[in-house]
């Protein structure tokens, strides 16, 4: 019988923390709306096995982060866990920030606040703000573009007060199925047990001031198009690139909205490729 070496969870975490002091290229992966750090479970081990440090975050009220969505009053509130990770970097530390879907808006905020700490910002079928319009501009345009048939059980609710209205979004199982249409069925089952009500990043949350040229505008950006995404269409993805051109465009053919599930190896290949040339 195989002799298994046993390690407690706390020792495992400590061991991984030690690795941080080595000068390794690192990724910080930021999930999309309603999702959490959990969604990167296939990606993280592969990147780490390729020699990269990887940090996955739960944004506020996401995954197992215990804050309530009602407590989120701003984009900065929502993105706090990500901002704290970057703030904790040493003076020489840099990372490649990867944003999936709604996570791109938090990535853009982080890049605006800490441009010198970001080697590249990668948008994976993601909402990508520009430096002219409010950060929520492309996402709100997307919401308005949804037809009756496309909305399905994607629920948007108003919460907050009259003075400070907030909107929340919830991905119902039918809408979720469309996002996961080419992903393994077990990952769709997983998502159904884990998606939560999340903030809808409108200008009520993110404000009307655009991000800056000196901050976010100075960071290298790469866009990864997901070729079979029927949630965020390829046309819309390309429009966002046209709206605010990037350094490089990559495409994962056959990927639905969740490439970390439908095309994990291809996504890792793209990320490693980016790290090789931009980190």
């Amino acid at each position: 019988r195989k002799q298994r070496k046993r390690i407690s969870l706390s020792d495992f975490v400590k061991k991984n923390k030690k690795i941080e002091t080595n000068k390794m290229k690192q990724f910080v992966l930021v999930h999309g709306g309603g999702h959490g750090a959990w969604c990167w479970y296939k990606i993280k081990p592969v990147l780490e096995a390729s020699g990269y440090r990887v940090t996955v975050v739960d944004l506020m009220a996401s995954g197992v982060n215990m804050s309530k969505v009602e407590e989120i009053q701003s984009l900065e509130d929502y993105s706090k866990p990500l901002l704290e990770v970057i703030e904790s970097f040493g003076s020489e530390d840099k990372a490649i920030l990867v944003g999936h879907s709604l996570g791109g808006i938090s990535v853009a905020l982080a890049a605006d606040m800490f441009p010198s700490k970001i080697s590249a910002a990668v948008f994976v079928t993601s909402f990508m703000p520009d430096i002219t319009n409010p950060p929520s501009y492309v996402f709100q345009k997307f919401l308005r573009s949804l037809s009756e048939e496309q909305v399905l059980d994607f629920e948007v609710k108003t919460s907050g007060t009259k003075d400070h209205p907030l909107m929340t979004a919830y991905l119902g199982p039918k809408y979720l199925k469309n996002l996961y249409r080419l992903s393994p069925i077990e990952d769709y089952e997983l998502a159904k047990t884990l998606v939560r009500v999340g903030p809808s990043v409108t200008s009520d949350l993110a404000g009307t001031k655009s991000l800056t040229e000196e901050g976010y505008g100075s960071v290298t950006r790469v866009y990864i198009i997901c070729g079979e995404d029927k949630g965020l269409s390829v046309d819309f993805q390309r429009w966002m690139i046209e709206n605010f051109p990037v350094k490089e465009v990559m495409e994962i053919k056959g990927a639905d909205h969740m490439p970390m599930f439908s095309k994990p190896q291809e996504l890792c290949d793209c990320l490693v490729n980016i790290a090789d040339r931009y980190a």
């Binding site: 390690i7 969870l9 959990w38 995954g63 197992v64 077990e186 089952e189 884990l194």
Partner: protein, 258 residues
């Protein structure tokens, strides 16, 4: 709305019974949540089975904070409420993993007529005439030096075998859990007439380093179930390592105790 649900549910049940289909209600262990059953749920559903993975209080994405589930009833409320909503003439197959066995035994006590069988997957299986705390105490007594509870993970360490994606998933999702030792000391939790008269099947998970086989076998000899099954080389998280076998096994067991 309740009437509508009951009508639809009745139709579903009749359809299911014709096709040897069952309703599996899955109860996770300490520190975990409904999420841990994802692979098993997919397999069962692919075979047309009905699956409800319950999320206990303060577990997974349940919004209750740790300090808001200080009692067993708060912790088990989602399981009990769900079983309450199951129509009187319907039965479910209850499956508990690890600490989830306690939930299964208490649910069998509360709803003896709604549960066709309680399946203990490397799970705590108390006697009807002895407080569950005895089991927990015995577990810690028998545990070899250096072992711990559900929150510890084992994996093959070495350059060829980095942490698996399953372990990564767990790391992003596990949360602390209470064990409720004081409440588990009560003599009145379980009775012969209710929990004691239910059908129980124990599934031994070979290679389990969290609830070692010796302890699983002790629980079986301590309170003999109707049947014992085995999953080879499963480790503690059989729903991750052997979802296909587990799915087949559960369906076989459900068919036996229909």
């Amino acid at each position: 709305l309740t009437k509508q649900y009951q009508t639809i549910s009745k139709m579903q049940t009749q359809h299911m019974q014709q096709q040897q289909l069952h309703h599996f209600v899955l109860v996770h262990g300490s520190c975990h949540g409904a999420w841990c059953w994802f692979k098993l749920a997919a397999k069962l559903k692919a075979d047309g089975q009905r699956v409800t993975a319950v999320e206990l209080g303060g577990s997974g994405i349940d919004t209750r904070r740790h300090d808001q589930v200080r009692s067993v009833s708060e912790y088990l409320e989602p399981l009990m409420s769900f079983l309450e909503s199951v129509p009187e003439d319907e039965k479910v197959v209850l499956v508990g993993h690890s600490y989830g066995g306690i939930g299964v035994s208490l649910a069998m006590e509360k709803f003896p007529t709604k549960i066709s069988a309680g399946i203990f997957l490397s799970a705590y299986m108390p006697r009807h005439d002895s407080p569950p705390a005895v089991l927990i105490q015995e577990y810690f007594k028998r545990l070899p030096e250096g072992f711990a509870m559900d929150c510890e993970f084992t994996f093959e360490e070495g350059p060829e075998e980095p942490p698996t994606s399953d372990l990564e998933l767990a790391i992003t999702l596990v949360k602390p859990s209470w064990l409720y030792p004081k409440e588990m000391e009560s003599e009145d939790l379980l009775t012969k007439e209710r929990y004691g008269s239910g059908k129980r099947v124990f599934i031994v998970c070979e290679g389990d380093n969290v609830v070692p086989e010796e302890i699983q076998k002790w629980m079986i000899s301590n309170y003999e179930p109707n049947e014992v099954k085995v999953i080879e080389e499963a480790g503690h998280m059989a729903m991750f390592t052997k979802p296909q076998q587990l799915s087949q096994l559960l369906q076989e067991i459900a068919a036996t105790y229909d």
